[in-house]
């Protein structure tokens, strides 16, 4: 006991305790704030960027230029960020199959690793929106369906239709259906504004509100067909078509049958 109290009064006690306390706080903080994200080492990262550059030079540079400067038929990729690359390549829109009115969604040409490498390469050249990670996309936890529906109807429905089925824009362009789109890609579309779509920056629609929109889209996607066959969820046009074909067809058929039987 004496020994401990002697040690306590020692001249080194205070600095030592301070060092111990700082160490404890630092450790606690780093443990507490540790993310599950698998960080790549510097070597792995530069290897990925090198691979991305390789893919870019082979597959993309003929239109986007050797230094991402763009050309007459393709925009510059300076400052588009990893999110743009992940959206365009991940949904198969890039590389483009035909240069018609609008670049359509198709089966992706590059696999996930190649897409990630391309995104890393483009992001390494200049600053731009980043790919949202898993923890940023937990819409089930952080989103609100009803609020998402209101936001969707206010900001998205005018082009993508009330049920996210898509709609026509001018000169053959169109807003595609948002059904069956990966949450990550919906998020990226909102922050990068691909093709005719405007950018919905975090000040316009906060990240939490973006997750609400995604949650509502997923709810609409998984909603059972309440009230019978949904008829495409595009409004009264298909309803009118059905009434004139099936409805009137059946009724006139019966009328003919009723008048024929009497003979």
């Amino acid at each position: 006991m004496r020994k401990i109290s002697k040690l306590r009064r020692s001249a080194f006690a205070s600095p030592l305790l301070l060092v111990l306390a700082l160490f404890a706080i630092g450790t606690t903080f780093s443990v507490a704030s540790a993310t599950t994200k698998s960080e790549l080492s510097v070597e792995q990262r530069s290897a990925q960027i090198a691979e991305g550059k390789n893919i870019f030079l082979k597959g993309c540079s003929s239109c986007h230029g050797l230094n991402l400067e763009g050309s007459a038929i393709a925009p510059s990729l300076v400052g588009v960020g990893a999110a743009s690359v992940d959206f365009q390549v991940g949904t198969g829109r890039m590389p483009v199959a035909d240069l018609s009115q609008q670049i359509a969604r198709k089966e992706p040409i590059y696999n996930e690793a190649q897409t990630a490498a391309l995104a890393a390469y483009v992001a390494s050249t200049s600053l731009g929106p980043e790919i949202p990670n898993e923890s940023m996309l937990n819409y089930e936890r952080d989103g609100n369906t009803a609020e998402g529906g209101t936001l969707f109807r206010t900001n998205c429905a005018m082009c993508h239709n009330f049920a996210g089925q898509g709609g026509a824009l001018t000169q053959g362009k169109y807003a595609p259906s948002v059904m069956g789109v990966e949450p990550k890609h919906i998020y990226e579309a909102m922050i990068t504004g691909p093709q005719a779509m405007p950018v919905f920056a975090d000040k316009t629609i906060t990240p939490a509100e973006k997750l609400s929109i995604i949650k509502w889209i997923k709810a609409a996607e998984n909603e059972p067909q309440l009230g019978g066959a949904a008829l495409g969820r595009v409004g009264p046009v298909t309803e009118g078509l059905l009434v004139w074909t099936l409805g009137l067809g059946l009724l006139i058929g019966v009328a003919v049958w009723l008048a024929t039987k009497a003979r």
């Binding site: 009330f162 001018t170 709810a219 609409a220 067909q225």
Partner: protein, 528 residues
């Protein structure tokens, strides 16, 4: 006399002694109606009207026609906690919580679409067969009135749920009211009780939708049917059928059974559609908010042509004495529909003026035998169809990977060019069919049997057609054009020269036909 007959007789006698109904019933239950499938088209409309009354009454038990703001706490999760009108909330309540409510709502809406479609096919039957001619002009006008009111009634019903689509429709209706020069904005304020959307409109249109218009419908439909009863039904020409008789089956039992059965079939088809196909999924549209609009916002089909006309109108505007005249809304939204429906209502009188025919007609025309009328009908339908197509131009563009601009330009040009083309083609087809009829009467039916003559020539054997068919093909009359001279007997120019000229030209066009075979023609043929 069996016990059952005795009881029936006693009951019938009891009723008759108190109402004197027996004589009236005896006369009217044996009334004869001609039989043809196209005469049942009007019944589709009548039966869907009854379905509308029944299903509509069911809906009023829970619908709350109020724009009072409520917070939704019903069972449809994606809307929970949202602010909405009581009208919208109660429609959701009917859809999701009331037993059979969704089915009834869908039956009501499908019945409305069938009601309007039935009216159009019934109108087409009456028009193309000339059933609107004297003495049935009033009934024709009542029919046009029912069609117009049907469009209004349908639109009001579409507006009641107060979902995003309803509100968008009301917004456009308001714009059309406002497009009226000078009085437009005052009328809009009057209708909405202030600025759009206000809180007065839905309660008001509810009263009109469930009380005023159905009452007018009931009255007009009753008069429509009473006139059919009194004037008797028209019939197709045939042996033994004249302008003075009606050949067919008695009401009791043949038509009672048919009409009763047909009612249940119409109800069955409507209920089938209501059960298997979703219509107006209001829960997906969300509550109305003037700041929102959905791509592909369309009216129901019977107003689609109107929307199509508005969509194709070029952006024309005039600014006069402090007032803006929006031609782009005024012309397609009010002027063109006004001309179309006035022309439709007046058509019987216009035709009778052109032909100079003031006689009664109870025998129907075969459409081919009146080429001008038939062609005019197809021309009008073509106009409406192009307008209707443009009403869905965005859905057509996305479905068929077209540009919405292409569809709109097709409609803009097509609505001017296609109706006249349809007129010419239809008239030519009618005349060709007349020619085919003439051939058939003169040379008989082609049997397909080939005969080799002794000298080696092949001929096809023709068989004479039955006298019934020959009657049917030659019973119609072919009136010559009106002989309207520019100068009267004394060589003085007649008054109203331009009008007479127009009437003469139209009468000549109307009289164009392939001469039907005469008795002399047939005799001559027999000599061969």
């Amino acid at each position: 006399m069996t016990a059952r007959e005795r009881v029936a007789g006693t009951v019938a006698n009891y009723v008759d002694e108190r109402t004197g109904a027996a004589k009236w019933m005896k006369k009217n239950l044996t009334k004869v109606f001609p039989d043809h499938w196209s005469f049942l088209l009007g019944e589709i409309v009548l039966y869907s009207f009854i379905i509308l009354l029944l299903s509509g009454t069911f809906l009023t038990f829970w619908y709350d026609p109020s724009q009072r703001e409520v917070i939704y706490d019903g069972s449809y999760v994606p809307l929970q906690g949202l602010h909405m009108s009581a009208a919208y909330a109660s429609t959701l309540h009917i859809s999701f919580e009331i037993r059979g409510g969704m089915l009834m709502r869908q039956i009501h809406h499908w019945a409305a679409l069938i009601f309007m479609a039935g009216m159009v096919v019934h109108l087409m039957r009456v028009y193309f067969t000339g059933a609107f001619r004297k003495p049935r002009e009033f009934n024709w006008i009542i029919g046009v009135g029912l069609l117009t009111l049907g469009i209004v009634e349908g639109f009001l019903g579409y507006s009641l749920p107060d979902d995003l689509l309803s509100g968008t429709g009301i917004r456009i209706a308001e714009a059309i009211i406002q497009a009226l020069p000078v009085v437009g904005s005052y009328l809009a304020f009057f209708a909405f009780g202030g600025a759009f959307p206000g809180e007065a409109f839905i309660p008001r249109i509810f009263t009109v939708h469930i009380l005023l218009l159905p009452g007018i419908f009931l009255a007009l439909i009753t008069v429509h049917l009473m006139l059919v009863w009194y004037q008797k039904h028209t019939q197709w020409p045939g042996p033994g059928r004249t302008e003075k008789n009606v050949v067919g089956y008695p009401l009791m039992p043949a038509y009672m059974a048919k009409a009763g059965g047909f009612f249940f079939i119409v109800f069955g088809v409507t209920a089938f559609l209501g059960a298997v196909a979703s219509i107006n999924p209001i829960w997906l549209y969300g509550p109305y908010n003037p700041g929102q609009v959905s791509a592909g916002s369309q009216p129901d089909w019977y107003m689609g042509w109107l929307d199509g006309l508005v969509r194709m109108a070029p952006p024309l505007e005039t600014y006069l004495f402090g007032y803006t005249i929006s031609w782009n809304i005024l012309i397609p939204g009010l002027i063109i529909p006004g001309i179309l429906f006035t022309g439709l209502a007046l058509y019987p009188f216009i035709e009778s003026w052109i032909t100079g025919d003031k006689r009664e007609h109870h025998l129907l025309d075969r459409p081919r035998n009146v080429p001008n009328r038939t062609a005019l009908g197809v021309m009008s339908l073509t106009f409406m169809l192009v307008a209707l197509i443009n009403g869905g131009n965005d859905i057509i563009a996305t479905t068929f990977s077209l540009s919405i601009n292409q569809v709109m330009w097709f409609s803009r040009i097509g609505i001017i060019i296609l109706p006249p083309i349809a007129f010419v083609i239809t008239k030519r087809i009618c005349l060709s069919l007349q020619r085919a009829d003439r051939e058939l009467v003169l040379h008989g039916r082609e049997t397909g049997r080939l005969l080799m003559l002794p000298h080696g020539e092949f001929v096809e054997v023709h068989e004479p057609i039955s006298p019934e068919l020959a009657w049917k093909l030659t019973a119609h009359e072919q009136a010559p054009a009106l002989a309207l001279e520019d100068v009267d007997a004394r060589g003085v120019r007649r008054a109203g020269g331009l009008k007479n000229k127009l009437r003469k030209r139209m009468s000549q066009a109307n009289a164009e036909s392939i001469a039907k075979p005469t008795a002399n023609d047939l005799k001559e043929i027999e000599h061969h």
